[in-house]
């Protein structure tokens, strides 16, 4: 056999393989009985929700081995636009679809699966443990630039923001800035980066989800309310948001079953809490897309 035909055969074999793969992944035949759930579920979006979705997804597929479930990050914006385009079954988001320009929220169905509390964090050297809400606003709008103005050390404030459009930043700005524009500053694209930079940079201040708190940085109380789960549950702590899973139209059986599983006691009472989120079942208040909070 000569080289040319070997190569040609190789290419032929490869293309056969590719065709085979294409078929394998696209087949969503559900010939199984009513019990055995099958199909393909893709959840894409929020990196804040990703760890929980991935863990719950893994548990879900051990019970339903015929379901092919993939969880990916990419950001809330990606999640919302992908689910709107019909490219994925579930779009994960930190913010309401209504808050995002370019998303037609009425076409999507919201499934709230968890709550995340966020709090300002400062470098430990700054000597700050409590701030007034107005002071936090002045810091992030650039009106207060030294920690001594709010009772800390004589140290310049270094603001670390999240990227514009990030769900965490949107939540923080809605609750704290209330329409004011944040001063231009450093932007980081993940909770992990913020955590590391605030812990090591003198005078740094940012905001993080509760699950990212470590003993290397100082979480700040606001108006003497400490950032704890129970304070979020009764809305004493104002900076929190839902983690959403959005679907478009009627979800297929596998997707619906997964969403139901996310809302089950199995997930809400153990997994959600273990991973630092707050259970949707424990909330004593409800927040709508406009930020209006009502007692349950």
């Amino acid at each position: 056999m000569n080289k040319g035909s070997k190569l040609a055969m190789g290419i032929a074999a490869l293309s056969l393989l590719l065709v085979g793969c294409g078929k394998a992944t696209s087949s969503t035949s559900s010939k199984g009985s009513s019990e055995a759930l099958s199909g393909k579920v893709t959840a894409v979006g929020s990196t804040a929700l990703q760890p929980l979705a991935a863990k719950a997804g893994a548990n879900f597929t051990t019970k339903n081995s015929k379901v092919n479930l993939t969880v990916q990050g990419g950001g809330s914006g990606t999640g919302l636009s992908q689910v709107q385009a019909g490219a994925v079954s579930i779009g994960d988001s930190d913010i309401f679809a209504e808050e995002k320009a370019g998303i037609k929220a009425d076409k999507l169905t919201d499934h709230k699966v968890a709550v995340v509390g966020m709090a300002p964090v400062v470098n430990k050297d700054a000597g700050i443990k409590n701030l007034k809400m107005a002071q936090v606003k002045k810091i992030f709008t650039g009106k207060i630039t030294n920690w001594k103005e709010v009772g800390g050390k004589d140290q310049k404030i270094v603001i670390i923001n999240r990227a514009q459009g990030s769900g965490t930043r949107a939540t923080f700005e809605n609750a704290v800035l209330k329409g004011a524009t944040a001063v231009k500053s450093q932007e980081q694209d993940s909770n992990g980066a913020v955590q590391k930079i605030v812990a090591t940079t003198p005078g740094a201040v940012s905001y993080l989800a509760f699950s990212y708190f470590t003993n290397k940085l100082q979480a700040v109380s606001i108006d003497n309310v400490t950032p704890t789960d129970s304070n979020v549950e009764n809305n004493k702590w104002k900076i929190w948001s839902y983690e959403h899973m959005y679907t478009k139209g009627t979800p297929d059986k596998a997707t619906a079953a997964f969403l139901k599983y996310m809302n089950s006691k199995d997930v809400q009472n153990s997994l959600v809490k273990d991973m630092g989120y707050i259970s949707i079942h424990d909330m004593k208040v409800t927040k709508d897309a406009k930020g209006v909070v009502t007692q349950n």
Binding site: L7, G74, S81, G102, Q164, G165, K184, Q186, T201
Partner: protein, 317 residues
């Protein structure tokens, strides 16, 4: 008669054989065809991929101007970047990208040329055994590792040295310096090795010292190669995203000095793209940044070609 008949038959058979041989492809010819077919197929696919990428990025990138009706001049000269509020001045990022690129090239070039001279002229043996693998290793390290080292070592070091937060153009410069060093060095080595041996011999025969030979003959005749190396290094620095993003601080403000946070085209792209919605202004604006990156890399490539051409002419003379 019979014999002639037989001869004729034989001739006939031979002509027939010649006929088939000449009119039908041989095995070798068929191999040729297959090989050529496969090559054309592969080339075709590559051209298709490149063309569709160019088309895709261009069509997405100009949407900012055609759909959102932002003027090109405002985009290029505006200094206020807040896409969510409809402000898309890209000048801070453009300046940031150029600043880190040129700074890294300026810092890296002397080191790279020095290393290359050592490896080719001063100690070729040790160079090949020792420095070559080291430089190849530097090329292979993923950029996220460089970024992490930058974040853990360079940023705190800069903070102690010059104050501020440590994030900024200078930190990015040092990270990029290490990243482009191997590119520039190995290409400079190649161009120094390509200098004809008789140039060096003639120079030494004329009584020039080694230093005179290196500085006045070898470096001079390898100039175009070295320039190409530097430009390739700059192209890499310009396009580097992750490592820069981790140390530059990503503040979309005009770079005032080297030690305050700034941002580059790539760092804005990587931080922003996941949070924007297809077809909206913030998303289109990011594609426009990508288009600038693409045009710049095309420009770098064109520059390399021009320099290479000039260098060739020089050698021929």
């Amino acid at each position: 008669m019979e014999q002639t008949n037989f001869q004729l038959k034989k001739q006939d058979a031979q002509t027939h054989e010649w006929d088939t041989r000449l009119h039908h492809a041989t095995k070798a010819t068929r191999e040729d065809w297959i090989g050529r077919g496969i090559s054309y197929f592969c080339i075709g696919i590559i051209i298709l991929v490149v063309a569709s990428m160019l088309w895709f990025i261009t069509s997405k990138g100009i949407a900012t101007f055609t759909q959102n009706h932002v003027s090109l001049w405002k985009f290029l000269s505006g200094t206020d970047w807040a896409p969510d509020q409809g402000k898309i001045g890209a000048l801070p990022m453009i300046l940031g990208s150029f600043a880190v690129t040129f700074a890294a090239a300026i810092v890296a070039t002397p080191f790279a040329v020095g290393t290359a001279i050592f490896m080719t002229e001063i100690s070729p043996n040790r160079g090949r055994k020792f420095l070559q693998p080291v430089i190849e290793l530097l090329v292979g390290i993923p950029s996220v590792v460089y970024g992490f080292i930058g974040l853990a070592v360079i940023v705190p070091f800069m903070r102690h040295l010059v104050g501020g937060s440590g994030f900024g153009i200078i930190s990015a410069t040092f990270v990029l310096f290490v990243m482009v060093l191997p590119t520039i060095t190995s290409m400079t080595v190649d161009s120094l090795r390509a200098v004809p041996r008789y140039y060096k011999e003639a120079s030494l025969a004329l009584g020039a010292t080694r230093w005179q030979t290196v500085s006045r003959v070898i470096l001079r005749s390898a100039t175009s190669g070295i320039l190409t190396a530097v430009i390739f290094g700059m192209a890499r620095a310009f396009g580097e995203a992750l490592a820069v993003q981790m140390v530059i601080g990503n503040a979309a403000v005009m770079p005032k000095n080297l030690i305050s946070p700034a941002s580059t085209l790539t760092s804005q792209l990587t931080t922003g793209i996941g949070d924007t919605i297809d077809g909206t202004l913030p998303n289109n604006a990011l594609w426009s940044l990508a288009l600038i990156l693409l045009l710049m890399s095309l420009f770098f490539n064109a520059l390399v070609r021009v320099i290479a051409k000039r260098g060739q002419l020089k050698h021929e003379r």
